[in-house]
């Protein structure tokens, strides 16, 4: 068949599809037309019709392909289902990297904390005396405001926590790509840092009370979030170090796609923690006992959530 015959025979179909692409609501028989279009494209290519015609059909086919295959069925309550079921399930399924992350952080916290508690001088090998004095200043006295002056500063610190903490979480995921070294560094560094500060401030009962009542609430979300973020970084690193029977790139892609929801969950937790840290933890008009009760309950809730949520079989 001559090219011109071919073109005039199918011109109506191509124009039809062009109109469908331009309209917002494609008709139900677009897939049928698309298959016909693919047929004409294959024929035009095979018969060596002019490249400009083939290019036009190619472009038409690509755009229709996108339109047809990118349509996603609406998922009802997808987010709620993820929160109530899929996220905790994923964390449990990836218990190995989560355990590694918990072990590195709390292990170092405990180790460094006990070392500093045993010999205060050791704190100076982690931080300068100025820094330590600074921390002490922040949590000292009954009217500790944690260097803040009113609700204005609360908002400022809230912004700072979001920028700083969520970024750290995301970076420790990205750093996992360097064979897990980045994630390991962030986790270990934060663990040791927390251990030194906690042990140093716990020496004096006054600062100890202020410090622990400050951190107890938001740490439930913040530390857990940071640890889950670095756990997802470890997952990336482990895909590179131990790809198993897959190629390294294939392993990396698979792990990255499967672990990403955990990272986003972690980022959301750190984000939520910023609200507590900004507007609750630092308030001085709330007695420390109330903070301990609320914080303790939040810790229990977080632990219960990851241990128990989503265990029921889907009905």
């Amino acid at each position: 068949m001559r090219q011109h015959q071919f073109e005039s025979r199918h011109a109506a179909l191509w124009q039809d599809i062009e109109q469908e692409l331009a309209s917002k609501q494609p008709s139900a028989d677009l897939p049928v037309k698309y298959r016909a279009l693919c047929n004409t494209l294959a024929v035009a290519r095979q018969r060596g019709y002019s490249p400009s015609l083939v290019q036009r059909l190619d472009l038409l086919a690509i755009n229709t392909h996108r339109l047809i295959y990118s349509a996603v069925g609406t998922q009802e309550h997808a987010f709620m289902r993820w929160v109530l079921r899929d996220f905790p399930r994923l964390v449990r399924a990836e218990w190995r990297v989560v355990a590694l992350s918990l072990l590195v952080f709390y292990g170092l916290t405990l180790l460094v904390g006990l070392a500093v508690a045993w010999d205060h001088e050791l704190a100076y090998s982690f931080m300068s005396p100025g820094q330590l004095a600074n921390f002490e200043e922040m949590y000292r006295g009954g009217a500790h405001k944690l260097a803040r002056r009113g609700s204005d500063d609360d908002v400022m610190m809230f912004g700072f926590y979001i920028m700083n903490n969520v970024s750290i979480g995301l970076r420790s995921f990205v750093g996992g790509l360097a064979f897990g070294v980045g994630a390991l560094f962030f986790t270990a560094y934060n663990g040791a840092y927390f251990g030194v500060v906690a042990a140093w401030l716990s020496r004096d009962p006054a600062t100890a009370l202020n410090f622990w009542s400050f951190v107890i609430t938001h740490s439930a979300l913040e530390i857990t979030g940071l640890l889950l973020a670095s756990a997802s970084g470890f997952k990336l690193g482990s895909a590179l170090l131990l790809p198993g029977r897959r190629g390294r790139v294939a392993a990396l892609r698979e792990s990255a796609a499967s672990i990403l929801p955990m990272l986003l969950g972690a980022a959301m937790m750190i984000f939520l923690a910023a609200f507590f840290e900004g507007f609750w933890s630092a308030r001085t008009d709330i007695p420390a006992t109330a903070k301990f009760i609320v914080g303790g309950m939040l810790w229990l809730a977080v632990i219960a959530y990851f241990c128990l949520a989503g265990r029921k079989r889907a009905t």
Binding site: Y49, S50, G159, M163, L170
Partner: protein, 230 residues
């Protein structure tokens, strides 16, 4: 054909071709985005300082900085069909490797991993990967399964001169036919001397030289496609 195209195989049994974009064009796109982000940042800073001076404004500013740093590319790519502002202006687009628009998962992955591609400074690692990868993907693209391609523009098909169709002196293979049609559609876009030269090259087919040979090729092409009579 060696053309650097990425061929996507569809369930309908055809391949669709897209052209991956190289480092330079992507660099321009990134630079435009950098300027856009700076402008957005300054604008927000200005408005926030007006709206709520003091600590609260600074706090909100830090939230804005956070969003500009991490969410700018993700949100634009997901909602604007794989294009950020820079990609839109430079005619680029991010696609999944199966040719579909990027979704949240792909966009988040490739844009978080920007951090690594940016190392040690100004996309050192990313450039290395783009140069080595056959589809010019940076590390984030490889992990996320995406590819940055030229956004296809609707092509205007060139009008051919109306000439008397002639049959070919001997049969050509489909590939040769395509080459002939490609030539007659594009020959008028090159300088006159080059046109004559191309006409000379076609002597074995036409038995003529220069412009006359080209005219003969036009006639053959008209015969091939079954064009209208002069």
């Amino acid at each position: 054909m060696i053309d650097g195209k990425l061929h996507i195989f569809t369930p309908e049994g055809v391949t669709l071709a897209v052209v991956p974009a190289g480092a330079a064009r992507r660099g321009y796109a990134w630079f435009i985005d950098l300027i856009a982000r700076a402008v957005i940042g300054f604008l927000c800073m200005f408005l926030l300082q007006l709206a709520m001076p003091g600590g609260a404004g600074t706090g909100m500013m830090m939230v804005v900085f956070f969003l500009i740093e991490w969410a700018y590319f993700i949100v634009l790519e997901v909602f604007f069909n794989g294009t950020s502002l820079g990609k839109r202006l430079t005619g680029l687009q991010v696609l999944r490797e199966d040719g579909l628009p990027v979704g949240w998962r792909e966009s988040v992955l490739r844009n978080l991993l920007r951090e690594i591609d940016f190392l040690p400074f100004s996309y050192g690692i990313g450039l290395g990967f783009i140069l080595l990868d056959k589809h010019a993907r940076r590390l984030g693209d490889i992990v996320a399964g995406t590819v940055v391609v030229y956004r296809d523009k609707a092509t205007v098909r060139p009008a051919l001169p109306v000439v008397t169709p002639l049959p070919l002196p001997y049969a050509l293979t489909p590939d040769e036919q395509r080459a002939l049609l490609d030539l007659v559609e594009r020959v008028r876009t090159v300088p006159a001397q080059r046109q004559t030269e191309l006409g000379d090259l076609a002597e074995p087919l036409t038995g003529l030289k220069g412009e006359a040979s080209l005219q003969r090729l036009f006639q053959y092409a008209a015969g091939l496609t079954g064009g209208k009579q002069a």
